[in-house]
Symmetry: D2
Subunit: 342 residues, 4 copies
């Protein structure tokens, strides 16, 4: 039983904890945070299903005042685990790494940290084998994780050598007030970091792209123009590949998936905790051919999409499974991914 801890119980940290709790070959030892945030208060109201540890600088009197019990210090938590999932605010993970190193504990960092924090920049499908036994991994960001799923899916089957992407980015998460955009589309300088990150993970592909921020909270949409290494990928060929992938949901507008908000509503109606979805969505009726290119649109549920690949990362780092096929299959089994096809 692999022992796992989570540092930072925010939007991603909560979901990492829930994800680990679902893996029957892992044990969630506890989570660590700094302040009695609403997320921590919700944990208390649920009866503390996860043990809480306090990071340095935490004001214990505030936790006491809010009636929130804690088990010990961050170092106590680190001392009990094989691997830490670090979803602290950007930059904090790099500092935490020193504690992990001192304790001889492995760690996986999220997209907010610099690449240099880790030995390998990781994606469960595209480079699982590079993560085998490695002490420090960094997960790709939410957009890159979902994008790579779809590109890797085509690449494995047909060969891809070039992609040009347009990222229509949600600007805030539900419940955010500290960032936002009102009646504006905001440009980033091109090329987008997601395209550059894809090339780091899949160096045989030339990637570029443009990112535009939009005032919504439920899921990024990315359009991808992918070029076949040889010959041409038709719409039918692309569909055939996408439909076999356990982390891609192929949907249509006609059945009711009118946009990004449909995935959120559907996941709520499914009874998924928090209305989360681990799969990216892919619209069958968005797929079009353009010369030797295939073009399509995907939906990225930004809050939850990196959870499966982080579970894959634990499997790789701790050599629980030897390769991408077996590692991702194990993750998928415990998260119920692919079950919906039946």
């Amino acid at each position: 039983m692999v022992k796992v801890g989570v540092a930072g119980y925010g939007v991603i940290g909560q979901r990492l904890a829930d994800g680990v709790a679902l893996q029957k070959d892992m044990e969630l030892v506890g989570i660590a945070d700094l302040a009695p945030t609403l997320s921590i208060k919700a944990l208390r109201e649920k009866g503390m299903p996860y043990d809480l540890y306090l990071v340095e600088g935490a004001d214990k009197s505030k936790f006491d005042a809010a009636g929130i019990p804690y088990k010990g210090s961050f170092q106590d938590l680190i001392g009990k685990v094989d691997i830490m999932l670090d979803s602290s605010p950007g930059g904090v993970g790099a500092k935490n790494k020193e504690l992990y190193a001192k304790a001889g504990v492995k760690a996986i960092f999220q997209g907010g940290e610099k690449n240099s924090v880790a030995d390998v920049f990781f994606h469960g499908y595209a480079n699982y084998e590079k993560g085998l036994g490695v002490n420090y991994l960094k997960l790709t960001s939410c957009n890159t994780t979902g994008l790579i799923r779809s590109v890797d899916c085509l690449d494995r089957k047909y060969g891809i050598d070039r992609v040009a992407i347009t990222i229509i980015r949600r600007v805030a998460d539900p419940g955010d007030y500290h960032r936002g955009l009102t009646n504006a589309l905001q440009m980033d300088k091109a090329p987008s970091h997601q395209a550059l990150d894809l090339m780091t993970i899949m160096p045989h592909i030339e990637a570029t792209g443009i990112l535009v921020h939009t005032p919504v909270t439920h899921g990024h949409i990315i359009t991808v123009v992918a070029h076949a290494k040889k010959g041409k990928i038709t719409k039918d060929m692309a569909l055939e590949a996408f439909k076999t992938h356990n982390r891609i949901r192929v949907v249509t507008i006609d059945e009711g998936f009118l946009g990004n908000a449909s995935f959120f509503r559907y996941a709520r109606d499914l009874g998924n905790p928090r209305g989360d979805m681990y799969e990216i969505g892919l619209w069958e009726d968005s797929i079009v051919e353009s010369g030797d290119n295939i073009m399509y649109a995907i939906n990225i549920p930004q809050e939850s999409v990196t959870i499966p690949e982080t579970m894959d990362g634990i499997r790789a780092s701790l050599k629980m499974q030897p390769d991408s096929a077996t590692g991702t299959a194990e993750t998928n089994k415990y998260l119920g991914l692919g079950k919906w096809k039946k």
Copy 2:
């Protein structure tokens, strides 16, 4: 065991079905709908926890094509229940009533129907006793339901004779594309129907108000200026009353409830199905005194707020409990309302 059916499995209907399923003294016989919507598809993907019946006009071939099993016709469902909860699209409920009448089945309609569809316009706290044994009830709309909770709470304890409200209304539900508002605040003609509806339910209060639509999806906010029948209600007095109410959550901005989206995020983090909350929110730091008036702001979770009062309606219509105090207490027990205070 009271047998209940639900007509219309949309935003409200799904939640009514879930609410009935939680009442240990009720049995959800089934739900009825017209088309294999995403909500029905989610029901199928969950393994059909509720039996489905098809209303007249439903195209069976579409359900068959989608692999969605059904138990029978709408009339079959009506024949098996004591009471129907009708959350059909506005106007359809009035037609359905003929079927209910023919079958001798009671019914509760939602806010979209005209008042004339029902014998009594109902609120679980403010006029439970008027609904006792009555065949056809109509629930107050989401805003009115939440508003009355707070006004009734003050009125019972201190006496209220006048309210002036400002409704800052969310314009669409999450997942809606057929209605929306972009970068605009839209006025309704005053007085708002919610003020008029309050007077129907609580005829001893003079109410008026203004409604403004805003481009958000998570919860209306209402400010209330309430006038004491005698003397003056201080902030402390108001707080004391609100804090005892099991369907009102008193919160503060400082603890993290910065706005309407905080309630939605908190309910998601609590693990509540769909991220729903039955309670209205009330900001302690919004309460201010103005002469003999007390002013405060509440948050109305529009998708789920009417569920408890609808359960109360079943209890009244079927005389399961004799008065508001016992009826609402029973509903609260099964929905876990008030438990969070401990």
Copy 3:
């Protein structure tokens, strides 16, 4: 002096009238509308700079009550002009065409009408010559008009044979309440009609694309992946072409054009009537190379972008100038396009 009338004084019609009024070789005879809308009331408050004619079905008593003077009937207006610019609501233009035909008057329809209403589907740069002397033209829609400007610009200089576009569409105009989108990105089925329309105008180019609606009101953003017929178009080559175009403003994020709302704010600060801009924006820092493709992003000011090309259409239909170069130059002179480069 060419005599021009405008049918439909809405978002587009008002701007067409203003555009004609600026052409020193044209005379705006008047505008026609059905009801005393806010736009008509603003015309009155400005002192009726344009004469108003009433279309069939107009209720004169409403105009009288609002103190709005009118000169005569729609047919009176048609009888006085050489050409009508029809910006009536979609479908009405087709009916109006019968009146134009009977009176022997030419007409230009806007994008809302079906292509079949016109003899030629028109763009001032891409196919001016096809419109020469033709009685009925239909303008490309706002997105297509702006898109073609940029593609034609590259095509003339370097040759383009394929484009794949992603349209990030604003969902409503400022002041719209009847349509809108709230916290959602909505998909259209691919390929987008704009790609198909481009192929109608520029049949030597293969075009496809995906359109996503976003909840904003100020300007569409389109990303374009354009394939060179021969060799490769570098970023410098593309920039050189774009910078010479009088209806394209090349801007950078660093100088303050952070997104679509910056163009609107800039045009307001320029003192342009209504804060309008005739040029499309093109971000220098969005241009990236991808194999033989050049990728870039443009901003489409949806309310005003078709005005210059409609002026071009008048010039073509009435053979005022013999070709695209001289026709567009005349329009640009009167609208002050290109002047800003100095």
Copy 4:
């Protein structure tokens, strides 16, 4: 001829400069700013109708590179004027005050500065006489300025002793990216500062209120519950008062003013520079009676509403007119306020 300078050429500063330029008894000597922002670039593109002076810290090379001419330093500007209008970013005005004092120049600060910066907190209608001859005035903020117009209007005619307001606040200006809100309504702690500010200006009135931020850019909406000092103010009485005010536009939903965005669209259609409006809007169909209270809703065009009262402030500070009636009348004449009633 009174000589006026403007410090800070942002959203407010541009409009102050335009406002001064319209006053035939004032001369706009110039404006001062720090960096070649888009607003300054627009000034250049318009041909520098106003002279530019550079504040300390300005990088001249950047202005030179952008081809933007300047006349001198901030101190040069101060040396040429009788009064400075300071619309610098919050806090900078307090520092600038030292320069003004040294030069013996009067100044008017905007709402972003602390009250302590000025000798008198000023409103053209409510306390003009207090500003007579005073060296340093601070204008009320946009919401307070518009709110006081309406309350003062009723107070003068009928007497008001108490108001309770709900401010539905726009969260950003058009073109803002540095602040925003996405799919959320955000609460401020009550009472709102606008209510407190009203009491500072009108100490005979008891005011309180709640403020909610909403994700829109065009105009705040405020609902006001105002209590008559004696007797009762009916809807007709309120309307009669509001209709005579030259800075209040009484409108109806039926004529097309559906919400805050309608005012912006109407002002654009009027041809007002930047689509600005100096008047607040007041919906006739929002006015309702509640006991001895009158309730109504107003629209505050946040970018331009303080311009007239700032012109009034110049008049008071320099004793150009002896009282509110004559001072505001002169401002109104030059800004064309009230003309639209004819």
